[in-house]
Symmetry: C2
Subunit: 275 residues, 2 copies
């Protein structure tokens, strides 16, 4: 059972994990240094703990204790009980969903482990917005993708905002970080995946044609704005596009990153079986 | 040619249109009262003016004048030339993209006018997040949707953040507001559209089956979180769903609003021709 610890001083050093949650720069260094991440809201806190992430501590107003009693019962971590105004003072914003937890990150799984049973994976190059990374993981999970691989510069899926947008899907979806950006796609091809890059390259074929009959498929998506690097575009086995309509007319010729990923996952799921 | 007016006092009343752009409540009342909206960034300002919205004024740092010279040449409105720090002081944030314009709203077109040539329309019930409304309009434009109809409580597509996310597609995409929420869907059916509501209702069929053979199609989408109202669910001609995978396993059983809309538009575009 988590120890309930009432705290009434916003400067209490035991609340350090929860400080200034809106300061992205500060949070990045603090979370990396201490190997922690934050979960927000009863549902997400519950999913994080159930997925096996060890809690460092909890922080909540008294009225949230009951809803999470069973989760608190499984942990020896302290649960800091604070007023809502104190929670706001520490975190820097109004904590709508009441409960917060600080959890320990786990070592990322090896690439081969993540790929072992996977038939369809999504590979993200430089998606730098936490909201987009969270949305891609959520939508990929809903559309049957087996794993997500992130290039070194992709935003952190365990950043609070990504976790929230993903509704906790980042805890259940197998994912890992690719350490070698340069040869990332050839190394997937060598493991038996057909890498299909979403790209407006001249030789891009229609996405449905590109994935037809592919057994193990890696859908490769670029970042916001600039799309895929030349290196990744060139080293993918195939380049494909989602055909646009009226793009020229309205001056918009692409879907936003999360929507493109969702449509691509939808098309991938419907692909005909491999030979 | 727009008159260039140098301003060096953040309190200058002529800058009233540009105040506190991050204060959603204030902006809503100010913009409604004066019938204005804001465009941000050279590309978006250009598209707004080219789409026929009359500028009330422009505001920019000197270095943005050249890039917009041809747009300024078409207008008699004042162009307030300010330092970047003064722009930040007035608007409340760092104006990355330099140029801002305040434009006059135009009367919304009548429903029949918007529908006249349309074969595929998207109908949004209570999508309240400006980012989501902007993303839906952008993705709908890219995927060949002819018009977007908004229920009374939907967020404003001309709010600065929606305009930005839509990359200006809100200027080119025909859209209007539905004045009658209660009978919105029957009135579309009466105009020859088959209304297909995305819904997890018990009688929801697969979306691809639901749109097959439909000539004039209205895709009906609900808001974030709660989805469609009972009234709209019941009064749609058909209810349909995007089949999810592994939803139960990871605790996520739906796409986010913008992604669901993109997938639905993609499926609608590929539908077989009507009888």
């Amino acid at each position: 059972m988590a120890r309930l610890v009432e705290v009434d001083d916003a400067a209490d050093p035991r609340l350090a994990d929860y400080r200034d949650l809106r300061d992205v720069g500060l949070r990045r260094s603090l979370e990396a240094e201490h190997g922690l991440f934050l979960a927000e809201g009863e549902k997400v806190v519950r999913r994080a703990v159930e997925a096996g992430y060890p809690p460092r501590s909890f922080l909540m107003a008294p009225r949230w204790l009951d809803g999470l009693a069973d989760v608190l019962a499984t942990s020896d971590a302290p649960c800091f009980v604070v007023s809502e105004s104190l929670a706001e003072e520490v975190t820097g914003f109004h904590v709508h969903r009441g409960a917060l937890a600080s959890l320990r990150r786990l070592p990322l799984p090896a690439l081969d482990e993540v790929l072992r049973e996977a038939r369809t994976v999504v590979v993200l190059e430089d998606l730098v917005d936490h909201t987009n990374v969270g949305a891609v993981v959520r939508n990929a999970a809903a559309l049957g993708v087996d794993a997500v691989l992130l290039a070194p510069r992709c935003a952190d899926p365990l950043y609070r905002r990504a976790v929230k947008v993903a509704m906790g899907a980042v805890f259940a979806m197998p994912w890992t970080r690719l350490s070698d950006w340069y040869d990332a796609l050839p190394s997937l091809s060598a493991r038996g995946f057909t890498t299909v890059a979403l790209s407006l390259a001249e030789d891009s074929e229609d996405l449905e044609a590109a994935v037809a009959g592919v057994d193990r498929l890696a859908l490769v998506l670029g970042g916001e704005g600039h799309g895929l690097s030349e290196r990744w575009t060139d080293t993918a086995d195939r380049r494909a596009r989602i055909a646009m309509s009226r793009g020229v007319e309205v001056g918009v010729d692409s879907l936003n990153a999360a929507a493109a990923a969702a449509v691509a996952c939808y098309v991938a799921r419907a692909r005909s079986a491999g030979a």
